[in-house]
């Protein structure tokens, strides 16, 4: 198998939830905050890669798929069960199209920021 030999410590610090919605970013953020619970904090909402909440521009055109970025509330590492718990909770309000884990390799982010974040 083609695998690198040296790997850094891996931690899950959050999740990107790609959801379908035709609502405005503020409404989506408000709904999502209910699902964060005691483990997750909603960082931002983006549309086609551009941040639209908490700050954004009224001139950004929106399509009916958003990325809601959740991160660990207290900076503590998460596990997959935490993510699944959030998925189940969030699916009560939205159709979740897909998700991606937010990993840290050592002290380095293994994911990109949204445009404008």
């Amino acid at each position: 198998m083609l695998v690198s030999k040296e790997m850094e410590q891996e931690n899950i610090v959050g999740v990107d939830m790609f959801i379908e919605s035709d609502e405005q970013p503020e409404v989506i953020a408000k709904k999502c905050q209910r699902h964060g619970g005691v483990k997750f904090n909603i960082i931002n909402v983006s549309n086609r890669g551009t941040q639209v909440w908490p700050t954004g521009s009224v001139f950004t055109n929106l399509v009916n798929q958003y990325n809601v970025r959740f991160e660990s509330l207290d900076g503590q590492p998460l596990n997959q069960q935490d993510i699944i718990g959030l998925y189940v909770s969030l699916s009560g309000d939205f159709k979740i199209c897909s998700l991606e884990l937010l990993n840290m390799w050592g002290d380095k982010k293994a994911y990109s920021l949204s445009q404008g974040q």
Binding site: S4, E10, G49, F59, Q115, Q117
Partner: protein, 376 residues
């Protein structure tokens, strides 16, 4: 009319000053509000590369004229250029590539004229910049193509093609491999094409398109592509007419438009006042046309390209334009030297002659004496 101006980083301030001087020489009726964007704004702690005041000003004025900007590397921040395009939904990047008089290329020497307009989708594709490491060894970049986004840019391309009486509009794609994403873009292209029966609409796979562009560029007229492929093909087209230094760029949105030079900040020559402002000037000309200042745009363009009627602008251009492009260097140097001892002047770009400055001054008081001193 007031517009927002961001001078940019590296060579940005000097080429922007050169272009604004030319606008002034032409009495272009524009006022400028300078805004803070670029590398030094990142350094001050604004992670999107612009201050809130700059953002508010641009959204209020609706037009941004910007020099090249640098994104700090290794800090995980996003390009301010892409942020600006995406935040304000400038969904179409229009770039016009034309044979320029006096710029020697393979095609100009062969007498093959080039007039290609590339319309690049400006928001979606891999430029969403949504990337994740799945494992330590596997990275993923999401590629979004949406129906509304595709229809928006394709309809703009068809409208623009109709207005310029284009004979052909071509969709570049890779739908043979990316059947879902590029397939959707291609499907939208032919859906819109039904509304424009007078235009010949066809499609070419992007690798084949690149080959055909360098073999027979005169066969193409308007080309519309997705974001990443459009980025590559538009730089290829710039190479056909002399390089990025001769390539204007307009980012068109419904509410805000951005006109910019697409070349880099060239930090190695910044501050030396030797950078060539032609690309930014061509973008400025496109901006004047967009704003309805057709006469001003035509006068400056003619002065730059054809040496007609508006000699003062040429003189300013000649001073400001250091013509770093190798095709022009020898010629411009020779002409500048020659002009110092000559009563007749030639355009630095074309080598054609026009009336001596002294006779122009008698008939038309078109520019301040200080420019004369700079030149002579």
């Amino acid at each position: 009319m007031k517009i927002a101006v961001a001078k940019g980083d590296g060579i940005g301030p000097e080429i922007m000053d050169a272009v604004l001087d030319i606008f002034k020489a032409n009495n272009t009726p524009l006022e400028y509000e300078f805004v803070d964007m670029g590398k030094w704004v990142f350094d001050k702690g604004f992670s999107n590369g612009m201050t809130p005041e700059a953002k508010a000003t641009i959204e209020n004025l609706g037009i941004l004229f910007k020099g090249p900007m640098e994104t700090p590397k290794g800090k995980g921040v996003k390009s301010v250029n892409v942020t600006a395009r995406k935040t304000w939904n400038t969904y179409a990047n229009k770039r016009v590539f034309q044979t320029l008089h006096g710029v020697d290329t393979v095609f100009s020497k062969a007498g093959i004229p080039i007039d290609i307009t590339v319309v690049r989708e400006n928001i979606e594709d891999t430029y969403g910049g949504i990337e994740h490491m799945l494992t330590h060894d596997v990275a993923l970049s999401r590629r979004f193509i949406t129906r509304p986004g595709s229809l928006q840019v394709i309809r703009y391309a068809f409208e623009m093609a109709r207005q310029k009486n284009a004979r052909r509009i071509t969709c570049g794609h890779k739908a043979n491999i990316m059947k879902i994403t590029d397939g959707l873009f291609l499907e939208c292209f032919y859906e819109v094409a039904k509304d424009y029966p007078e235009l010949k609409a066809d499609d070419v796979i992007v690798d084949d398109l690149c080959m055909k562009l360098v073999i027979q560029p005169d066969k193409f007229d308007v080309v519309v592509l997705t974001n990443l492929q459009g980025d590559i093909v538009s730089d290829l087209c710039a190479g056909l007419v002399g390089g990025l230094g001769f390539a204007p760029s307009a980012n068109i949105g419904d509410h805000i438009c951005i006109f910019e030079a697409v070349h880099g900040t060239a930090p190695d020559i910044a501050g030396k006042n030797i950078a060539n402002p032609t690309a930014l000037l061509l973008s400025g000309i496109a901006m004047l046309r967009h704003l309805g200042y057709m006469q001003n745009a035509a006068e400056i363009e003619n002065a730059l390209l054809f040496n007609r009627e508006y000699a003062p602008v040429i003189l300013v251009i000649r001073v400001k334009q250091r013509l770093t492009h190798r095709n022009l260097r020898k010629r411009s140097s020779a002409i500048l030297v020659k002009n110092q001892n000559s009563t007749r002047k030639s355009c630095c770009l074309t080598g054609r002659r026009f009336k001596p400055y002294s006779s122009l001054r008698k008939t038309r008081c078109l520019f301040p004496k200080k420019w004369n001193r700079k030149i002579l």
